[in-house]
């Protein structure tokens, strides 16, 4: 068969590298190009918000253009994570639920922010009251989109914890719970304009971003390990070195 000429794992590696490339764009775009993260304060008066838009004008317009180009790469990442659940002994319900939730999450959780800030930066001379509304809309839609990530992480966690194919270690299941909890503690950012729970606060932003960054790094490595161990069977996933299987 002609298929034998190819690395049987090339589709998985393609998805994994897409994931790596995506996050290598994602973090620099938010932290370096647009400089919208760490986020500005919700407590600022409108004059300061307008000034913030002026200072970030070009970065927003270029940086989010890049997001519009690459946001679709998330579907490859979600596909790979869904695949990890198909490799488990659990029902396909988990994989499909995760796939749908995370596919839809990109719109309220990412693209609305990019669209709103692009609209805000588009006309610096716009009525300041409206710029203030766009400012709130952008940051609250981004920080305040919680459920898709909350339930999505819990679905992955539940799949990992009930899986009998040893696709991921159980501690990684609990790490998903940590990621889910970050979506719980950001809820007060819909209420507070200052303090640790505001959208730029030490808990709602700093703590959450550290957990999310760590979680992302870990799941990238976990997925890499899964691909290395993949044997395309349906039973328990072998360890990397086959003679060490009994060690677990």
């Amino acid at each position: 068969m002609s298929r034998a000429r190819h690395n049987p794992k090339r589709e998985l590696w393609l998805a994994w590298w897409t994931l790596v490339v995506f996050y290598n764009f994602f973090f620099p775009v938010f932290f370096v190009v647009t400089r919208v993260q760490p986020p500005p304060s919700p407590a600022w008066d409108i004059a300061r918000q307008v000034q913030w838009f002026r200072a970030h004008h070009f970065g927003i317009l270029v940086g989010f253009a890049v997001v519009f180009l690459i946001a679709g790469m998330t579907t490859m990442c979600n596909a790979l994570i869904a695949y990890s659940m198909r490799r488990m002994s659990v029902s396909p319900v988990f994989a499909y639920s995760y796939l749908v939730m995370y596919s839809l999450s990109a719109v309220p959780g990412l693209l609305l922010l990019c669209i709103a800030l692009t609209v805000g930066a588009l006309r610096p001379e716009r009525d300041p009251e409206l710029i203030g509304w766009i400012y709130d809309f952008a940051f609250l839609s981004f920080t305040g989109t919680m459920g898709v990530f909350l339930i999505g992480s819990l679905v992955w966690m539940l799949a990992i914890l009930t899986d009998k194919n040893r696709v991921f270690p159980k501690w990684f299941g609990y790490l998903n719970l940590c990621n889910a909890l970050t979506e719980v503690v950001v809820a007060p950012s819909w209420i507070f304009k200052r303090g640790v729970l505001a959208w730029n606060g030490q808990i709602a932003w700093w703590l959450d971003v550290v957990v999310f960054g760590f979680y992302t790094g870990v799941f990238i490595l976990m997925l890499r390990r899964l691909i290395q161990r993949e044997d395309f069977g349906t039973g328990p996933l072998p360890d990397l070195a086959p003679n060490k299987v009994a060690a677990l």
Binding site: S2, R3, H6, P8, K9, R10, E11, L12, L14, A15, I60, L61, V62, F64, A65, V66, V67, F68, L69, I70, A71, G72, M73, T74, T75, M76, N78, A79, L80, A82, Y83, R86, P92, A95, L99, V100, Y102, S103, L104, A106, V107, L111, L112, C114, I115, A116, T118, V119, A121, L122, R123, R126, D127, L130, I134, F232, T234
Partner: protein, 256 residues
């Protein structure tokens, strides 16, 4: 959907599944295309595309003068904006028939399907809102108009992704018995490239990058239109070929 293990058997391309309804869905496509073209022409903001340099008063006047045109066309788009989803799912079904080792491409494609229509509906709601009370403060109408146009122009992420994913899926398919010809893959990469400039729409209020410009409006929308026609035909051919194989297989089974 069973997608583990069924890539192994040589007979997987004639897998027993009910494909007759697919033709009905496929043939809704010309109707959807005609409705889209009608709605496109009916929307006064597209013929010609509204300029981003219009002052707020002029934008408000536009919605006052064209209130009914905006409503008719955008209600049509609201009804049929998702009309393309069956075509995209038909593509997912064809990707599943390809000689891949994993369902990754089908999953990724499935993840793209709803993204484009969702963003389009956001734009659609903004335009309808602007027309709902055109007597509102002109700055507010202009803001809804900006949201509508920026969302409509930058709805490319999932469209780019689905073209690239489909192209890769085709390149990863078996060369001797391809589901789609290679040129369909090349064509999809070309369409993805044509959608790229629209992402940069915020950078200019006039010229080719502006939302009414040659790249962000004409190139992007023509590319989408051509993609729908070409993929409609390509998917149609694949579905008919699949049916022929299915029938042939059935006859073989009967004579065996």
């Amino acid at each position: 959907m069973s997608d583990r293990g069924d890539n192994e058997a040589p007979g997987r391309r004639v897998r027993l599944r009910r494909i007759d309804g697919e033709l009905i869905l496929l043939w809704t496509l010309p109707a959807v295309a005609i409705i889209w073209i009608a709605a496109f022409v009916l929307f006064p903001g597209f013929t010609p595309p509204m300029s981003p340099t219009m002052p707020a008063e002029q934008v408000a006047a536009f919605y006052r003068d064209n209130q009914w045109g905006v409503r008719y066309s955008m209600i049509l788009f609201n009804w049929f904006g998702v009309g393309l989803v069956p075509l995209l799912i038909l593509i997912v079904m064809q990707i599943r028939r390809m000689a891949h080792r994993t369902p990754i491409f089908a999953y990724a494609m499935l993840g793209c399907v709803a993204g484009g229509p969702t963003l389009f509906l956001v734009a659609n709601v903004c335009w309808l809102l602007a027309a709902f009370r055109p007597e509102r403060k002109p700055e507010l109408t202009q803001m809804f108009n900006d949201f509508g146009w920026i969302t409509f122009t930058t709805l490319v992420p999932f469209l780019i992704a689905q073209s690239v994913i489909l192209a890769l899926a085709i390149y990863f398919d078996e060369e001797s018995r391809p589901i789609f010809n290679r040129w369909v893959g090349h064509f999809n990469l070309l369409v993805a490239a044509a959608l790229v400039p629209a992402a940069f729409v915020g950078l200019a209020l006039a010229g080719p990058l502006a939302w009414d410009g040659a790249l962000s409006f004409w190139l992007k929308n023509i590319a989408i239109g051509v993609w729908i026609v070409v993929m409609g035909v390509a998917v149609g051919q694949a579905v008919y070929r699949e049916r022929a194989e299915y029938r042939q297989r059935g006859e073989e089974l009967v004579s065996a």
